[in-house]
């Protein structure tokens, strides 16, 4: 393939999803190594690229680059099939926070030579990329401006791929397949009507409208795409890009196209736990052929087919009396003991499942031990976990690796992580989520995997909980001045808050001013929070804390956009400290504010505690505020009680 560099089909795979849908799993291992039907995601994408005649792949990692790098190295040593025809290079850049940044990076580094395929690591497909890209090139011959061809799979409206992800509405010219309008609903959105601009209909002889498309997160890009990203620094995600292009098509002089996959082509993206379930099932049912649960291993046919889509690795052992109902995948060396019933589940390698265990709709990774008489329903258990006897785990409980669940514990819709603190937190969280389940399950009746609904709703789910009781204190001081940026941010936020603008726009604004004044990221984090806490509304308002609460609630997306990493959380806390000192109306309420932030799941304990520590170290004025002290006491005891709760 080295001979003609030019004709080699290039593909860029973005190894991060830039969201926390898979927390806490995605915290402890890179998304790309999350196993779907027993096979790490990365294998699927690589193999399908190889099938599609791609010659060169750039894996772009923003986190855990090294892990991925040596994973790739290993599989090349093991002569993975794709390694023969494809050369894979891993790019790393921890500075990238969004896909936009990645594209800019790529543009800067000049990695792509020409037309290329842009896919996410969470894509699972069996399409022939080469052919599609060729098609895109042809199209570019016709329309110089053609920047990107989006790839969609048409499915029934009721299909879970749509139901559980953000549905798309798309209007396009029927003759040219030029995208005219692209609208992404909020998940489970109830809006029944969308307004189609008249000119869309007037200017085109025929218009196709699609409302039942599943986005496989695949795009065929012209060379012009990375530069476009660089020119418009407010493009954060692909959707930004799409909208940007559509809104000011003339200015950017580029246009979008879309293509639908044929009947026998499969494509889906794992965007949240629900789609994760669906895709796993599809893989088991062989829709993604030739991709299968044996993808990536040179050895095929190591699985015994036992009817009803039950597969078990040859080396796995079943006891006589255990029964597998349907849609079961059992990895190698796993042993299942007597009277255990497994259905609609994936069980990884080297697991030991005890007697009288019931496992339904769950995903159990490698080296998990489940003791006798357990019940595991609609849950995800990551590697090296141990589940004690008689425990019941259900409703989308997600257990990160190396957790030991004590015997007889009951977990409903909980997030469990190995460290004690987290555990306690998540248990608290669970209270709120459990309520979530009820009203959701009532919403979509009899949905098997209701548990996994949490994944995307988690962000909202957090404000449904309000445990704190605020004492409302009267005060109305005036906000003091900070630097211009802060002012700008405050203004835009304030405006946004009054006019109830969409958070996305605000984020854009903030970013643009960020770039304008070129502020460092951590400063941005700091100032955003600072701004939030020093909005004029607060000044006039009587009941500060409630307002703060509302504000937090309203700007949750903004926050979650900026406050992701640990460092950013520290920024945020510092901002709180700062504003508590600077703004009178927050005087003495730092504790409550923190509590709110904490309830809103913006900050987590360990960072809180850490922060609290260095507060005391460099004895800051608020360190010994009663409210603050109260809050941390409460935090302590909360942890204790949760500890004896399990």
């Amino acid at each position: 393939m080295e001979i003609d560099k030019e004709n080699v089909v290039q593909a860029v795979v973005i190894m991060d999803t830039f969201n926390d849908h898979f927390n806490p799993i995605s915290k402890c291992k890179p998304m790309s190594l999350l196993p779907v039907a027993g096979v790490p995601l990365i294998n699927y994408i690589l193999e399908s690229l190889a099938h599609g005649g791609v010659g060169e792949v750039i894996l772009f990692c923003c986190q855990d680059g090294p892990t991925i790098k040596d994973y790739i190295r290993k599989s090349i040593e093991n002569k993975a099939i794709w390694s023969v025809t494809m050369d894979v290079q891993v790019m790393m850049s921890d500075s990238c926070q969004t896909m936009g940044d990645v594209m800019r990076e790529i543009d800067a580094a000049g990695l792509v030579r020409g037309y290329f395929i842009l896919a996410g690591v969470n894509t699972i497909t069996n399409i022939n990329f080469g052919a599609l890209l060729e098609q895109h090139k042809q199209l570019c011959k016709k329309d110089k401006g053609a920047a990107m061809t989006l790839v969609y799979k048409k499915v029934a409206w009721e299909h879970p791929l749509i139901g559980s992800d953000k549905p798309i509405f798309l209007a396009a010219d029927a003759n040219t397949n030029k995208v005219l309008m692209h609208h992404k609903y909020k998940p489970k959105s109830t809006e029944k009507s969308i307004s189609l601009p008249l000119e869309v209909v007037l200017n085109h002889s025929e218009v196709k409208l699609h409302h039942n498309l599943a986005d496989a997160n695949i795009a065929l890009c012209s060379p012009s795409v990375p530069p476009l990203f660089s020119d418009n620094f407010d493009f954060q995600t692909r959707d930004d890009f799409v909208h940007g292009i559509l809104i000011n098509e003339e200015i950017l002089a580029s246009s979008l196209y879309y293509t639908l996959l044929k009947g026998n082509q499969y494509a889906a993206a794992v965007t949240n736990w629900k789609t994760y379930q669906t895709v796993c099932r599809d893989v088991l049912h062989n829709w993604a052929y030739p991709l299968s649960f044996e993808t990536g291993s040179t050895e095929q046919n190591n699985y015994l087919f036992m009817g009803n889509h039950i597969f078990r690795e040859k080396s796995s052992t079943l006891s006589r009396s255990c029964s597998l109902i349907e849609d079961v995948l059992i990895g190698s060396q796993t042993h299942i003991n007597d009277n255990t019933v497994v259905s609609k589940s994936v069980i990884g390698k080297n697991c030991v499942i005890g007697n009288n265990v019931t496992i339904t709709g769950s995903h159990i990774m490698n080296n998990v031990v489940i003791k006798d008489n357990c019940k595991v329903l609609n849950s995800f258990i990551d590697e090296q976990c141990t589940i004690g006897e008689n425990s019941v785990i259900e409703n989308g409980t997600i257990i990160a690796s190396n957790v030991v669940v004590d015997a007889g514990s009951q977990l409903k819709g909980t997030l469990l992580e190995s460290s004690e603190v987290d555990k306690e937190k998540s248990l608290m969280k669970s209270t709120s989520e459990c309520t979530e389940w009820e009203n959701e399950s009532s919403g979509s009746g009899g949905d098997d995997f209701i548990g996994f609904e949490k994944s995307w709703s988690s962000s909202e789910s957090c404000y449904s909980s309000d445990g704190s009781d605020e004492s409302s204190l009267p005060d109305s001081p005036v906000p003091e001045d900070t630097n211009i940026f802060l002012q700008e941010v405050i203004d835009s936020l304030a405006r946004g808050y009054e006019e109830k603008l969409k958070n996305d726009y605000l984020i854009l604004e903030i970013n643009s001013s960020r770039y304008a004044y070129n502020i460092q990221l951590h400063e941005v984090n700091f100032f955003v929070v600072r701004a939030l806490l020093s909005m004029p509304v607060l000044a006039e308002n009587k009941n500060v804390l409630n307002t703060v609460k509302d504000i937090l609630k309203y700007f949750r997306p903004v926050l979650s956009n900026y406050i992701k990493t640990k460092s950013s959380i520290m920024d945020c806390l510092r901002a709180v400290e700062d504003s508590c000192i600077k703004c009178e109306w927050l005087d003495g309420k730092s504790g409550q504010v923190l509590h709110l932030l904490y309830e809103a799941d913006v900050v987590d304990e360990d960072s809180l505690i850490e922060w609290h520590k260095d507060l005391e170290e460099n004895e800051s004025p608020i360190a010994n505020q009663t409210s603050l002290v109260k809050f941390f006491d409460w935090l302590e005891e909360a942890s204790e009680e949760s500890d004896d709760s399990d």
């Binding site: 015994l304 036992m306 052992t317 079943l318």
Partner: protein
Amino acid sequence: MKKEEVQEIFLKIMKEEEDVSAGVAAIRTLLSVIENYKVTTVRELDLNMQLAVEAMKHCDQPVTAISSGCELFMRFITFAKLDFTDFEECEQIMLQRGNIFLNTLLEARGKVAKQAMPFITDGCKILTHSRSRVVLQAMLEAAKANKRFEVYVTMSCPDNSGELMHKQLVAGGVDATLILDSAVGYIMEQVDIVMIGAEGVTESGGIINKIGTYLLGMAALELKKPVYVLTESFKFSRIYPLDQQDLPKEFKYLSSVLKSGKDLTKEHPLVDYTPPAYITLLFTDLGILTPSAVSDELIKLYL
């Protein structure tokens, strides 16, 4: 050399070693005959042999295996004879090769069992008839390889050898059920495969086996279940029975009965003949054969 002595040796082997089949026992007897009764000429040897064979056929044991085994051994002798002129040396060679021969025979059962392995699939139901050492071994090995399968064993009158089979299977951790001979038709529709042993395999590729096998075969064919026969190759014999009547008497009845001169039509035959049409495959130490392959083998040997 005394006829009784020979019989004694033979019966001793049969008695002492539970799981050695009559054919092997016979051959071993013959070997020991060669050892013990020194002779000087090939001719004498032949005489001795024939005598011994006769003797064994008359010691009240099911004779099918014996005869086929002996036949084979005689053939072996003749081959051996051809190679050498000097009788002394010939005899030595004969003994030494004889042992090799014997060992291959002893290995046979293991091989057969191995052949049958893949046919015992996880979760299948097997019907077997009477007691066959090969079948037993095959099933026990399958059980060891933690395959989950059920076995139905016929009682198989008159000697109820099925009960022993059943006992041994259960002991070996196989999920086995004992059924009446007359329940074959009833059980047949539930089972997936029929797996039986054989006392002798005829030129036609059919088998001679414990009485009731024929019926079993017919039922299986009617319900389209495959019939697999597990047998060692030394049970191949050069007879070609046309029907049940055509089976040699000494096969059907114990020599004692024959001697007693009773009216045979009133007697229960011990074995029956199952024509090749009812047999799907034979698993032998020579490999997995279709019935038609048997004659091929025999022809290669005897012509």
